[in-house]
């Protein structure tokens, strides 16, 4: 059962597993977070992990009770060591180490967010990162490990606003809805942003594996963007052996790439195609082969400037 099914929500009659979880002693329950309509909190016996998550997801915090509750259970030493992750009354997975557990949790949250958007049937969501300036957004569409988070981080630190590093959502009017989750910086990017490491979070070292979760506020104060429109759509490709290069793309040729990197397109069917055309109508499309990060950022800013002045 997906967590967005009505009968799966907290507040319904709890399952036996949920009752057992409720009876445990918890060290910390996070604030309620709202991620594109999926509201959740996380409880854990480890206050250090709870505080880390509160800081990482601070940009999504809201008042009120969550619809869904994650429970992180560290198994007793007499059992096989490791962690179990529950969503409401359902165990979603068991993991051996703290680092695997945090990485799995952040992945699962993101998956539930996109599932929720898919089933709600309103948001058109793409696997992309995005930044914005004055309500005009640049989105970077690409599969995993293509540098989406890295280029978004660099541009936000350079003064642009942060929309998301993973899932760009558009409502029915074609407005980009921010999803400012923590930036997930992989180890390969750490040397580019050494000051973003979680040095001020004691006790969480064992949860840090190959990924830092960087709160948007750590990139730049008040960095989170408001709703906006796509002004620049970038098909992003990282190639360590190539020269950084921007090539214009015809808008129609961006559509297959967007469809391939969409979480919800097929669910929305015919209407999604019209919506994509409307989103692209106001945007410049380019293909960016990235090697040097500074050069890539300069190129993106130039494209945004060109679009703002009417040069397509």
């Amino acid at each position: 059962m997906s967590a967005v099914d009505i009968e799966g929500k907290r507040g319904d009659r709890p399952s036996p597993v949920a009752r057992l979880l409720d009876a445990r002693t918890w060290g910390h329950q996070t604030k309620t977070f709202d991620a594109l309509g999926f509201t959740f909190a996380v409880r854990t016996a480890d206050p250090a992990l709870g505080a880390y998550l509160d800081a990482a997801y601070a940009s999504l915090a809201q008042d009120g009770d969550p619809d869904h509750l994650y429970s992180i259970v560290e198994r007793e030493p007499r059992e096989r060591r490791g962690f179990s992750v529950f969503l409401d009354g359902r165990r979603t997975d068991s993991l051996d180490t703290a680092a695997q557990t945090l990485r799995y949790l952040t992945w699962h949250i993101n998956r539930e967010v996109t599932h929720h958007a898919e089933l709600a049937g309103e948001l058109l969501v793409f696997h992309a990162s995005a930044v914005a300036r004055d309500g005009r957004a640049a989105m970077f569409v690409a599969p995993m490990n293509s540098g989406k988070s890295t280029i978004a981080t660099a541009l936000v630190r350079g003064g642009l606003d942060y929309v998301t590093d993973e899932a760009v959502a558009f409502d029915e009017r074609g407005v980009m809805v921010p999803y400012p989750r923590p930036v997930a910086l992989e180890r390969g990017s750490w040397s580019l942003f050494p000051d973003l490491g979680p040095r001020s979070a004691p006790g969480i070292e064992r949860y840090l594996g190959q990924q830092w979760l960087v709160p948007p506020g750590a990139l730049r104060p008040a960095a989170v963007a408001g709703p906006g429109r796509a002004a620049l759509v970038v098909k992003l490709r990282y190639d360590a052996g190539a020269t950084t290069l921007v090539r214009p793309m015809r808008r129609a040729h961006m559509v297959p790439h967007l469809v391939e990197q969409s979480f919800t397109f097929h669910r929305l069917g015919r209407s999604a195609l019209t919506r994509v055309a409307e989103i692209l109508a106001g945007a410049t499309c380019v293909e960016l082969t990235m090697n040097d990060l500074d050069e890539a950022c300069t190129a993106v800013l130039a494209c945004l400037d060109d679009g703002a002045t009417g040069h397509d």
Binding site: D96, R111, T114, H127, M144, V255, E260, F263
Partner: protein, 418 residues
């Protein structure tokens, strides 16, 4: 009129059609109902809501596509365009015929008189009847049953409902997520497939084996969890494809390099599994699919995995692999069309290595023979056999198997068999 041209920018890896249907001006094209389209900057973007594929038509082809909104023959379309654009009729006719042929080849358009296709699309979707593949309680099956299974799921594959059992709650959770859209509630499903994914390594350096059983047959054994799951998805996809008409489906091992493929006897499975790193090192990859399709032009096709859910499933599998302390292996064969480069058979005692014996083995490996006209199957196998070289090797000489495969794929192998 500029040259009409279909730019094939597919979302799901479709390929440029090798053969275009031969049409004449009496042909009456009709857009398929399943196709949604939108115009962007003069180009037409067509989305096939049934297959998920996206096609981009350049402005000239988009103009032809626009003409197809009104029923008529190609002759009428050409006449209209000549009258409107004032161009040479011969040029316009040639361009329109080519554009429509490409649209037909890519499934955007059918003949207006092709009542079967249009009626099928316009009919309300029938509620599929459920069928099962029963599992016979053999000694072999009992051994697999005794391995202990944490639970099972039922998966709808066309009209079939197939049972997949898993060795642990974790494995079950992974399969539920990946097959989310295909799950059905059905207590009668037999255990057609069994997946055992070992927990992540204990850190001792020993990497665990992950396995897939089809009935009681050990079908895939790998140290990469995603490989087993992708193998399961390929098997489920094949069950759907086997219910459809079309190409000759061959249950053979498929070795691929540089867009070419060798079909090898399944007797080599254990050898090839053991030698896979060596094959990979020579640029040869092994397709983890239960069957491939032999087309009329003797090319073969590795069927697309229909049960994959794109990025999300790929991400999940990558996460699982990461936990297994080993990255995904690059040696995965992409779905698509491959040129047949050769046939590799097993040398058997008391059976001469002749065209007749190899033909008998090929015939025995046709998995959809009941759905095909017998003579056309024979003709197609015979033509394939006569067109490409065959080699024979014995499973006890693994080097000879690798060399023969490399030679057939023109990778510089040393002929030690044949």
């Amino acid at each position: 009129m500029t040259e009409p041209h279909l730019d094939h920018a597919h979302a799901h890896g479709s390929t440029e059609p090798d053969e275009l249907p031969e049409l004449d001006e009496s042909f009456s094209p009709a857009r398929r109902d399943a196709i949604a389209s939108v115009e962007i900057d003069g180009e037409a973007v067509c989305y096939d809501t049934a297959s998920g594929e996206v096609h981009v038509l350049n402005p000239a082809a988009a103009l032809v596509w626009d003409c197809l909104q009104v029923p008529g023959t190609i002759r009428e379309i050409v006449d209209d365009l000549v009258a409107e654009l004032g161009l040479d009729r011969g040029v316009v006719s040639s361009d329109v015929l080519d554009a429509v042929a490409r649209m037909v080849a890519n499934g955007l358009v059918v003949g207006a008189n092709d009542d079967a296709v249009l009626a099928e699309e316009r009919a309300p979707e029938p509620v599929p009847e459920r069928r099962y593949i029963p599992e016979v309680p053999t000694t072999c099956m009992a051994k697999v049953d005794d391995l202990g299974w944490a639970g099972s799921i039922s998966v709808q594959a066309g009209t079939l409902v197939l049972g997949v059992r898993a060795n642990s709650e974790e494995t079950l959770a992974l399969l539920r997520e990946i097959l989310h859209d295909h799950l059905v509630v059905d207590d009668d499903t037999p255990p057609n497939y069994s997946v055992s994914l070992a927990p992540p390594s204990s850190g001792s350096g020993k990497r665990e084996l992950h396995v897939l059983y089809r009935s009681c047959e050990l079908t895939i054994r790998s140290r990469i969890p995603s490989r087993v799951v992708e193998g399961l998805l390929a098997h489920l996809s094949a069950q759907v494809a086997s219910q459809e008409h079309g190409a000759v489906r061959l249950a053979a091992l498929t070795l691929v390099a540089d867009g070419r493929a060798v079909l090898a006897s399944r007797h080599f499975r254990a050898v090839i599994e053991r030698l896979e790193p060596r094959l990979n090192a020579r640029g040869i990859t092994v397709a983890d699919v239960p069957a491939v399709e032999l087309l009329a032009d003797d090319a073969i096709v590795v069927p697309r995995t229909r049960f994959s859910q794109g990025g999300r499933a790929a991400d999940m599998l990558a996460a699982w692999d990461a936990r297994a302390e080993r990255g995904r292996e690059p040696a995965v064969v992409a779905s698509g069309r491959y040129e047949l480069a050769g046939l590799l058979f097993e040398t058997q005692e008391n059976v001469p290595a002749t065209n007749l014996s190899s033909m008998l083995e090929l015939l025995a490996r046709v998995s959809n023979i009941e759905a095909l006209p017998g003579q056309s199957t024979l003709d197609r196998l015979e033509r394939a056999q006569s067109r490409v070289p065959s080699r024979w090797a014995h499973w006890s000489e693994p080097e000879a198997v690798v060399d023969a495969a490399a030679e057939l794929l023109s990778l510089g192998g040393t002929t030690r068999a044949g």
